[in-house]
């Protein structure tokens, strides 16, 4: 590629497969790798290998984990009654950082988007329904999918599927960021916040 020795060209092409990396950045990264020590390069290669081969999906919550069940599902101190449904493993981390949620999770790995060919069977909805059907302890499902068209549709789909089960289905609130000023909020968020107001 571009007259570079074949191994460099191949590395550039690999880097370009990553999101937001174009030919220029890929070339810079490839030459940087060349200047790294052998140990660092091997560590890097091993990390890449391990992330793919040492991680699996938790058999219970579908989150990515080293061993199944994952540490959250195996944690006896957590509340089995409440389940928080999120789109991505990254969302679990975000929820965990709040230190406010002590229930368990279910990771969908995406949201319904027919135009991109992602239907209900392409995300882990079936696994969720199965889990609720076999675990009678679960009493509340909090749906925390993203507040966009696809996230809302996914929430709606799940809530309809769960109608026959004796569980409370809730949707996280949309509204103002804490610590922000009212005047800087965009009007759609403000309108949502107004809709979801509560008595004090």
């Amino acid at each position: 590629m571009w007259g570079y020795p074949e191994p460099i060209g191949r590395l550039v092409e690999q880097f370009m497969k990553l999101p937001s990396i174009g030919p220029k950045t890929a070339t810079r990264l490839a030459f940087h790798v060349l200047s790294m020590s052998s140990e660092d390069v091997e560590g890097f290669a091993k990390a890449l290998h391990d992330v793919k081969h040492n991680l699996t999906e938790c058999a219970i919550c579908c989150n990515i984990t080293e061993k199944t069940p994952c540490s959250i599902c195996a944690d006896a101190s957590r509340d089995d009654k409440v389940l928080c449904v999120v789109q991505d493993p990254k969302d679990v981390m975000a929820m965990e950082r709040t230190h406010e949620f002590n229930g368990k999770y279910h990771v969908l790995h995406g949201a319904i988007s027919p135009m991109e060919g992602v239907g209900p069977n392409d995300v882990r909805i079936r696994e969720l329904v199965q889990r609720i059907g076999t675990n009678e302890e679960i009493s509340e499902i909090i749906i925390a999918t993203n507040p966009n068209v696809e996230g809302e549709a996914t929430a709606m789909y799940i809530s309809r599927l769960l109608k026959p089960f004796p569980v409370r289905v809730t949707r996280i609130a949309h509204g103002l960021p804490v610590g922000g000023d009212l005047e800087y909020a965009d009007e759609v968020t403000l309108a949502k916040a107004l809709e979801g107001r509560r008595q004090i």
């Binding site: 988007s113 027919p114 068209v149 309809r160």
Partner: protein
């Protein structure tokens, strides 16, 4: 509202461009294909965030270049600010006073223009899509919330239509999108109705001034979501409820045609002179008078909504107005409205603007004042 200065870089046939505008009338004069309309297009982009001629932004970049720049110093209600649009091969960025705006909808609405071009006759003669686009553009630049609902509606509609194209349709699955479709669809419909009502008020008055005889013009909004209940027209919740019912009732039609057959994407509006539809009954001259009345009505509408007059852009239209009164009316706007005109000849202004206009010569992408 005024545009004080316009700076262009690598935009269409302009290598660089720098224009300082006067408060009243500004005239770009030059032969055809020298870049007069390109300059208006740039000003239009500062207001709308997109071109009125193309949906491909990259077409605005000078051939062989990486990026184009448009920058305008504007004054709105006495406050000066700087708007900027950077167009690159990979996308565009909009800035207000040097601050990059996260979404295009945050950029639109800082500055308003009304553009009158020869193709405006299509508003009357063309298909419903032209009129829906007109409503979207005009409401969008005064009501950003409207743009949000239209964008959301279109996204939900695409998702729903994608399911309708599948070989086997699970209606429970389709229904997952219905609620969102209904809410945004109802918001769009109610806002469009209010807009058409307001525009009718202004357009009627203008039409009386420029039409011959005692012709009376009227406008009607023809929404796809119709409620029998007259009072329900402006109630979003009631209309959303009604739209949901329609979506359920029309499943068969939706299945047959493989897309959603009811909703604001099927809206239209019609124009009448003395009760007769303009599209089929009126002469070319009458149609043009109606189109002009609607454009000029926008000026009053924007003033009412925003509190300042928009900038009026006239793209080579004065030579087409056959009536002296019309030319006069358009020209007389400059007392309240900053006006920017493109023309190949000064003949239409003969005796009207002596010493009151700033003249710019446009030749092969170079503007000289």
């Amino acid at each position: 509202m005024r545009i004080e200065r316009l700076t262009l870089g690598k935009f269409r046939n302009y290598e660089t461009g720098n224009v300082q505008f006067a408060d009243g009338v500004n005239v770009f004069i030059g032969e055809n294909a020298q870049g007069k309309t390109n300059a208006l297009e740039a000003i239009h982009m500062l207001a709308m965030g997109k071109s009125h001629r193309t949906s491909k932004d990259t077409e605005c970049i000078q051939t062989g270049e990486e990026s184009a720049l448009i920058k305008g110093e504007i004054t709105v209600k006495g406050h000066r600010s700087v708007l900027q649009v950077d167009i690159t091969q990979s996308g565009k960025r909009a800035l207000v006073n040097g601050l990059s705006q996260a979404k295009m909808t945050d950029f639109i609405g800082h500055f308003q223009v009304v553009l009158f071009a020869p193709e405006d006759l299509q508003l009357v003669k063309g298909g419903p899509a032209v009129r829906r686009r007109f409503i979207d553009m005009e409401l969008g630049q005064t009501h950003p919330k409207y743009l949000y609902h239209v964008t959301q509606f279109n996204r939900v509609l695409q998702q729903r239509n994608a399911i309708l194209k599948q070989t086997e349709i699970d209606w429970d699955y389709v229904g997952v999108f219905d609620e969102q479709l209904a809410i945004h669809g109802a918001e769009v419909t109610v806002r469009r109705r209010r807009f058409v009502d307001e525009m009718t008020k202004f357009a009627k008055r203008i039409h009386q001034n420029i039409a011959p005889g005692r012709e009376q013009m009227s406008i009607e909004y023809n929404p796809s979501i119709r409620s029998d209940d007259e009072r329900g027209h402006l109630n979003v919740d009631a209309l959303a409820e009604h739209y949901l019912t329609l979506l359920r009732q029309r499943r068969h039609q939706d299945f047959q045609s493989r897309h959603t057959t009811v909703g604001p994407h099927r809206d239209d509006m019609s124009f009448f002179i003395d009760g007769k539809p303009v599209q089929s009954y009126a002469s070319q001259g009458q149609q043009r008078t109606v189109a002009l009345s609607i454009r000029l009505a926008e000026i009053d509408f924007i003033y009412q909504e925003v509190g300042d007059y928009p900038v009026l852009l006239l793209d080579d239209v004065l030579s087409e107005l056959d009536d002296h009164r019309q030319t006069n009316l358009v020209i007389s706007m400059h007392e309240r409205v900053q006006t920017i005109i493109t023309t190949t000849s000064l003949a239409p202004f003969h005796g009207m603007l002596e010493g009151q206009m700033r003249l710019f010569q446009v030749h092969s992408g170079i503007i000289t004042g």
